[in-house]
């Protein structure tokens, strides 16, 4: 009985989220375009997560290399460390970690910001001021998140690999040039492309879930906190689901 209602709630929520994304596509590509607000959001969203993404991906690249080293040495393939690490980082860990950090930082702040604008009637005030608040607030944020996350992923990958380079050099010496030529010799088009494409979907998921949660925020400060919180949780789960789907699709169309 209890289970039945929670399944119903889950399905209702998924339906609402789907309807919200559909509204995005209906509204996003029709004028008037909110160009100034969009550019501002790109700056805010991209810039605000820059430091955190750099720090976490750097540590991750470094630690990953140091953790891999003992077994690689035991198998006698220590020279293959850059190759292994670069594939792991570029294909999976870089995009997913960056997206999760992005969800924690940007998803929650979008959820809280729009949530408090909703409960204090600021969204209604925009509407009576001759503005379509969905375009002004939601469309700009979703587009900015979609476009900025892939950029952050590229940056995060580069920083993670730099961390890996330092990790390799803690025990043993590999020159900078040798490290990078090993990395690029090993990476192929099919490693980079699906990972790059899926990060657009990750960004879209974070932006959409954040805006959806903010828009459906309940009255009161508790409601705003809850929308910020569930924006992160739902966006993170959606990121993993998209991750699962892209690997299946890439496999099916033969670019895995």
């Amino acid at each position: 009985m209890q289970q039945e209602t929670s399944i119903k709630l889950f399905l209702a929520e998924a339906g609402d989220l789907a309807r919200f994304s559909a509204r995005f596509f209906r509204e996003a590509f029709r004028p008037p375009y909110e160009v100034a607000a969009f550019i501002r959001q790109c700056f805010v969203i991209g810039y605000r997560s820059l430091g955190l993404v750099s720090l976490t991906t750097f540590i991750m690249g470094l630690v990953l290399t140091m953790q891999l080293r003992p077994s690689m040495v035991a198998y006698g393939v220590a020279s293959q460390i850059p190759a292994i690490v670069s594939i792991a980082v570029v294909r999976e860990i870089g995009p997913v970690i960056t997206a999760l950090i992005f969800a924690g930082k940007i998803g929650s702040s979008i959820g809280a910001e729009l949530g408090s604008m909703k409960v204090t009637e600021q969204i209604d005030a925009m509407e009576v001021s001759g503005t379509n608040p969905f375009r002004y607030l939601a469309v700009t944020r979703i587009l900015a998140a979609t476009l900025m996350l892939p950029v952050l992923v590229l940056l995060g990958d580069a920083i993670a690999l730099y961390g890996a380079y330092l990790g390799v050099n803690i025990r043993g010496i590999t020159s900078f040039n040798l490290f990078w030529s090993q990395v690029f010799d090993n990476l192929s088009f099919s490693d980079v492309l699906p990972a790059f494409i899926k990060s657009y979907f990750f960004g879209f998921a974070v932006g959409t879930v954040g805006c959806y949660k903010g828009y459906s925020s309940r009255k009161g400060t508790e409601g705003v906190g809850r929308s910020a919180n569930s924006a992160v949780v739902v966006a993170s789960v959606v990121i993993f689901i998209i991750d699962l789907l892209t690997v299946q699709i890439a496999e099916a169309i033969g670019i895995n």
Binding site: T120, Q122, A125, V128, G130, T131
Partner: protein
Amino acid sequence: MNIDISTGKDRAAAPPVLRIAHLYKSFGAHHVLVDFNLELQKGESVVVLGRSGSGKSVLIKCIIGLLKPDQGTIMVLGVRVQDAKGESLDQLRAKVGFLFQSNALYDSMTVRENLEFPLRRHWMRLSREQVNERVLEALNDVGLAHTIEMMPEELSGGMRKRIALARTLILKPELILYDEPTTGLDPITGKEIIRLMTDMQQKYNTTSLIISHDMNCVKIAGKRIVILIDGKCYADGSYETFCRSSDARVKQFFE
């Protein structure tokens, strides 16, 4: 009887600024407005009195088109609100001011940006100087020109209300809808806000619909009072007549 003193013309001949006829609005099984009727003539200032939860905010959100009524007609300045969409709805809204119960100041923007927002959004053709001039005029009207670069969070409740009022007045609306302009303020600040409202009413000759359950506000601002009970316009009259009323449901407001 229905003669406008200033022009000598028969007021009833002019179309009403606001006409609400047989308005119904429910949320699920909860019937908030049931056959509500009201007419406002130009220059009139009417207070709608009702208990908390009686549907006052719902009523004015229907008037501005933020909520869709289930049934009935709302005519604002000759336009049927329910039928207006997109551009025509925006044009109508530019002529109608709305003071939100919670002020609804944009808290990521400074006072100046708050005031500029409706200006830039409704009339994109104003020059930088014209915008500045308007902003300063509106701030001077409410006596807060020195707060122009402040953020809303740095202001007190009464100042925030005045800024919200300035943002409402900046478009020089023909009809202003006030949602509980004095709630949450101390009586003295509340009276200041009411005085400001009546001053502006005279200065710009606007029509006002004031939602309130604050008797101070009702006494000063409302020459005509409408009592909202059970989703209907229960009674319509002046402060004096209501004070002498023997109806128990009217009396409870005026004791």
